[in-house]
């Protein structure tokens, strides 16, 4: 961590002044003392206390902190929240939706687990500041595509290189085959659908067996032929990296639990839009779930209108560990509103807030550093004048890795420039 700060300090020093302010004003390094705010501690409620940020960490939380050099920030009447984590996005991997050459999340090929999302993260994506000003400080950025599209990475929304942004978790994506019709345009017969599914599974089994064999050869101390696809599977087979199994339909979820439990691997289910129908099974096998977007249409015409709103809450109440994602690129900023809708439709507020903070941190195994306001955790946090799920609430301060981040983005700059445009009408 200290090394990272050093890199930042050096970068700040050597960056030519021409780059300064090109997009967003610089983040401010320093020691910050947040005085008099209420701290959101989730299971421990809200307490009034001071919080000291130093060396990129939450250095201390106590009732009355004094520090000789720290910059004091008056938080009276405000609430301090841990930064929110979106557990499924394409942030940094896509810039302009319809222009394919700006889209880096979807590689060609059916089995491409070696594709690294982290490689293609654009630290200067305009969407990053747009996202973080709403209190989202970290995201999982995920490749999409065919069967095994690649490896996702968790990043903090600050930094000038992907490695700087990387926050220590990776997961390998597996798009679980879904039986059934994909939509009104899917005109295949029932028979064709079943045949297609069987073919998919034959391929998956073949690939999986090869990966296991490859891993066995390595474990035996031998060097197999160069095979990047199979090599990418090794950390999963050795339980060093979980499989992120994207699955949504009820029956497919049950198959995924069965399949996942049969393999000797760690796995997380993602999507899980019909999880509410099989919540007991998810709870029984203690399968962690990343679900969302909450602001989404039902998957079936016969569904109740609120199934996407209420899904997360129903699973959580059944005892499932649930994190909430947006599955977004440029509008990851809507994460708090997705959590808000889950809270409106049955999830307790505290549980909805955990679903975008400590729960993803725990599921990703980085809760020693992320997800709550605790001493020695990374100082990813924000200060607001109210409930961050409410659109009316204002975010007042934002810290990522202890840096004081300006609450600016291209969107706010355009507001500043055009609210009272000069020159106005006809040059006046």
């Amino acid at each position: 961590m200290n090394k990272l700060i050093l890199i930042f300090a050096i970068l700040a020093f050597v960056l030519p002044s021409g780059l300064y302010g090109q997009q967003i004003n610089k983040a401010e390094a320093g020691i910050f003392l947040l005085k008099g705010g209420e701290l959101e501690l989730m299971d421990d409620g809200r307490i009034k206390a001071d919080l000291l940020i130093q060396d990129g960490l939450i250095k201390e939380i106590a009732e009355n902190i004094d520090h000789p050099t720290a910059q004091r920030i008056d938080c009276n009447g405000l609430i301090v929240f841990p930064g929110m984590i979106d557990s499924g996005t394409r942030l940094g991997l896509g810039e302009v939706g319809s222009i394919s050459l700006t889209q880096d999340h979807n590689e060609i090929g059916t089995y491409t687990p070696q594709m690294q999302a982290l490689t293609a993260v654009n630290p200067n994506s305009v969407s990053i500041p747009v996202t973080r000003v709403n209190g989202v400080t970290s995201v999982l950025t995920v490749p999409s595509g065919d069967r095994f599209p690649g490896t996702a990475a968790m990043i903090d929304l600050l930094g000038y290189t992907p490695n700087q942004m990387y926050s220590g978790f990776k997961g390998l994506v597996f798009n679980f085959p879904s039986a059934g019709r994909r939509g009104w345009w899917d005109s295949r017969s029932e028979d064709e659908i079943k045949k297609a599914e069987k073919k998919q599974w034959d391929e998956i089994k073949d690939f999986w067996d090869k990966a296991k064999l490859y891993n066995k050869i390595i474990a035996g101390g031998k060097k197999p032929d160069y095979n990047p696809q199979l090599q990418a599977m090794v950390p999963v087979l050795n339980k060093e990296m979980p499989l992120l199994i994207e699955v949504n339909e009820r029956k497919a979820i049950l198959s995924a639990i069965k399949w996942g439990s049969e393999q000797e691997i760690d796995y997380i289910l993602t999507g899980v839009s019909e999880g509410y129908l099989v919540a007991d099974s998810l709870a029984k096998y203690d399968v962690p779930v990343i679900t969302g977007p909450v602001l989404n249409n039902p998957s079936r015409n016969s569904d109740h209108y609120d199934v996407a709103y209420s899904n997360a809450g129903k699973m959580q109440k059944a005892g499932v560990r649930v994190a909430i994602r947006t599955n977004e690129t440029e509008n990851v900023r809507n994460l708090p509103f997705n959590a808000g809708f889950a809270a409106a439709y049955g999830m307790e507020w505290k549980e909805a807030f955990k679903a975008v903070t400590i729960m993803p941190a725990q599921i990703f195994g980085v809760d020693d550093k992320y997800g709550s306001l605790e001493r020695n955790k990374i100082a990813n946090l924000f200060v607001a004048d109210g409930d961050p799920f409410e659109p009316k609430t204002d975010i007042k301060y934002l810290f990522i890795r202890g840096y004081n981040i300006p609450l600016e983005s291209r969107h706010s700059y355009l507001y500043d420039e055009f609210l009272e445009r000069e020159p106005g009408l006809d040059g006046n």
Binding site: V96, G97, S98, I99, V126, N134, S144, S178, G180, R181, R182, G183, W184, W185, E190, I193, N248, E249, G271, S273, P293, L295, N296, N297, P298, S299, R300, N301, S302, D303, H304, Y305, D306, N327, T329, E330, N331, R333, N334, F337, G340, F341, A343, A344, Y345, E390, P391, K392, T393, D394, R410, H411, S412, L414, Y415, F418, L419, R421, G424, L425
Partner: protein
Amino acid sequence: MKTLHIYFFVFFVFGLISAQSETGDVLIKNGTLITITDGVKENTDLLIKNGKIDKIGKNISTGDVKTIDATGMYVMPGIIDAHSHIAIDAVNEGTNPNTAEVWVGDALDPYDINIYRALAGGVTISHAMHGSANAIGGQCETIKHRWGVMNPEEMRMEGAVRTIKFALGENPMRVHGEGGRIMPATRMGVEQVFRNAFSEAQEYMKAWEDYDNGKSDMAPEYNIRMEAVSDILKGDLMIHCHSYRADEILMLMNVLRDFGVEKICFQHVNEGFKVAPELAEFGAYASVFSDWWAYKFEVYYSTAYNAAILTKNGVITSINSDSRELIRHLYHEAAKSQRYGGLTDNEALRLITLNPAIQLGIDDRVGSLEKGKDGDVVIFDKHPLSVYAIPQMTFVDGVVRFDINSDPADMRIEVDPNETMPAFMEAVDHEHDDSCLQGLNELLFDK
């Protein structure tokens, strides 16, 4: 002969009856009324009779009118979506840069489940629009969400202003220039499509005028496309124009000035904020997304503060959905104008009530809680700009069309008996494209 007259009479009466839609009576007691035009009234009653707001006041008592206790609840006018594509089963006639003659009103689908889902989000009226494949697209239809009717005629909002879809920028350029190698391939070409159509329509109108005045002996050939474009020039058909960039917005206003067209509502209009003073001067309306951007290049330089900038510059602005998903929570989309630009509660709620009503030319009928207006009302359990607000009941013409306490899962009216394997929509990767290319995207581009 006499019997024939009677037959005609019977047919005439039946025709009137069948187009007549159901109205209802209801008394909503003791709610917090958000009137939009006359402030917020606490502990107030609202009486709807024969589908119209009959009385607003304290302690209204009536005979045996169905009464709903709205104590602790918020009552507001039904939400209006000035841009959607639900309840129609054809969106784009993408075969010519000008298809002014087609009309989505010919393709209304009362069975579309999205109507019910919109009602569950408090939306009582939507503007079912033609798509944006053509510079001059088809005519649109303003519909009331009378879920449960099976006659498409009963969905139309009787008396609504006639509207037609125009489109600027990438979509018509992509479909016709890139796709068909014909004009328009550029924003220059888009301008000329309009100028050509308006000029031809002027000649067409002149030819008919000459014939009608006896100046010419031969009747001109009847042209249904030119009839529609003529109606625009006469002010009988209002333009709603899909638009993004500031330059193309200015272009169309200049064309309209040259041809004497005075009314327009720009749709999407993501860069409207850059030319807000010009829009205000023209008197043009703007119907925008709350926060969509970056799904194509022409919306890369846009801002979620668009609605706030436009509003504060005096442009009559609405927030629309253009999406089966967003239409379900337009109250939340309106609330984002408070995060992005700090609009007041009333300014924010006007974006989804009175302002879209003005844009659709139906503000004498709907958009606020006022005596004499239609009984289109939604009841929320919390303030509608709160993320925790849930619509409880939605009324159209005083008839309950959504009630959260009588809301089974499967609300389809029509179920296909041959459907053995029902479609399951996987979580959509990325729905954030304007659905204006609907029908073309799925069939032409993505495959």
